[in-house]
């Protein structure tokens, strides 16, 4: 049983690479001793492919189901907090102040991306000073400030893009974001982002986080705050446009393959 599990779950072994490399070196030495061209070619080939097998092994490889299981606890926590405090408001993504911008010491907290979950479903935002204090519970208006679940992905996407999202135009974002999500980070098989009237619509096919929408855990906040990928897109829109963003609605196909989300840009 243990052996079967190991066979299916383990990352690629380096044994083949090492075997090729060692035998190649031995054959190369033999070719020098025997002055044989054929042996030299065989040895060179074996040693090279051995080295290549070792070189092209992925450094880290985890199954995508692990992502869902690690993300679940955050959503359960958010659900517990909002239920306990009886908060009904839709989460609002608040853009951070640009990283390169200079701010006085007491406003340094504005450089972090936050999601404001208001107590009531009204668009009333706390003051800049209040948000800069990095408080969790806010009193005027009542609500909580948390870090977005997809903020880590935003940093990763910025590294892939080799620039900050504040530096690019919205049109450029619509063309480059699907490429990074699908080709570079492989977070989904297909990703589309388009403006639709006053909303922004995204369609994600085969997202690595689609199991979070399955309903097995009964996560409620997943539809309002979004899965880490949906949350990352909301953060990116807020950063690039420089305005508040909220998730208006989402639809998930019955087989969990297709996730459609509609975002709204709010005028603060």
């Amino acid at each position: 049983m243990k052996r079967k599990l190991l066979e299916t779950k383990q990352t690629p072994s380096s044994k083949i690479g090492i075997g090729f490399l060692v035998s190649g070196c031995v054959v190369l030495l033999a070719s020098v001793v025997a002055s044989s061209t054929v042996l030299a070619f065989i040895g060179l080939g074996l040693a090279f492919w051995g080295g290549l097998f070792l070189f092209t092994r992925p450094v880290k490889f985890v199954t995508s189901t692990l992502l869902d299981f690690t993300a679940t606890s955050s959503y359960i926590t958010i659900d517990r907090i909002t239920e306990d405090l009886h908060y009904k408001g839709k989460p609002i993504y608040v853009p951070p102040y640009p990283k390169e911008g200079r701010l006085p010491e007491y406003l340094k907290g504005l450089k972090e991306m936050i999601v404001f979950i208001p107590a009531e479903d009204t668009v009333a935002m706390p003051t800049i000073e209040e948000m800069a204090k990095k408080q969790f519970l806010l009193k005027n208006p009542q609500g909580i400030c948390i870090a977005p679940p997809g903020y880590g992905i935003v940093n990763l996407l910025e590294t892939e893009l080799k620039t900050g999202f504040t530096q690019i135009e919205v049109d450029q974002l619509y063309t480059s974001l699907p490429t990074i999500i699908v080709s570079s980070l492989e977070l989904a098989k297909e990703f589309e982002i388009n403006p639709e009237n006053d909303l922004i619509h995204t369609k994600t096919v085969d997202s690595v986080y689609n199991e979070l929408y399955s309903g097995k855990q009964g996560l409620k906040s997943i539809h309002s705050i979004g899965c880490p990928l949906t949350s990352a897109v909301a953060c990116i829109l807020a950063i690039t446009i420089g305005k508040l963003v909220t998730i208006v609605k989402d639809t998930v196909s019955s087989d969990l393959k297709t996730i459609e989300v509609w975002y709204k840009i709010l005028e603060a």
């Binding site: 990352t11 690629p12 070719s31 020098v32 001793v33 002055s35 044989s36 061209t37 042996l39 030299a40 070619f41 060179l44 080939g45 090279f48 290549l52 070189f55 092209t56 092994r57 992925p58 450094v59 490889f61 492989e186």
Partner: protein, 71 residues
């Protein structure tokens, strides 16, 4: 005392590098549309492409050496 020499000349190595570089470049191009994980086979495509390009460049260096010193 007999002296042992490596049996391949620069020309032989150049030919070997050329053949290997072509194999790797073609493989890298064919794998480009696929994910790093297909079936039971996992490979870092970026590193494969890097190895192919390095071998291609190495071949060009050997050609350059031939051009500089043909004999």
């Amino acid at each position: 005392m007999t002296r042992t020499n490596f049996p391949l000349s620069l020309w032989d190595i150049s030919l070997w590098i050329a053949v290997t570089a072509i194999i790797l470049l073609v493989t890298s191009e064919l794998l480009a549309p696929y994910s790093d994980y297909f079936g039971d086979f996992v490979i870092d495509k970026t590193r494969l492409r890097l190895a192919a390009l390095v071998l291609g460049a190495a071949f060009m260096v050997t050609v350059f050496l031939h051009a500089l010193a043909p004999r």
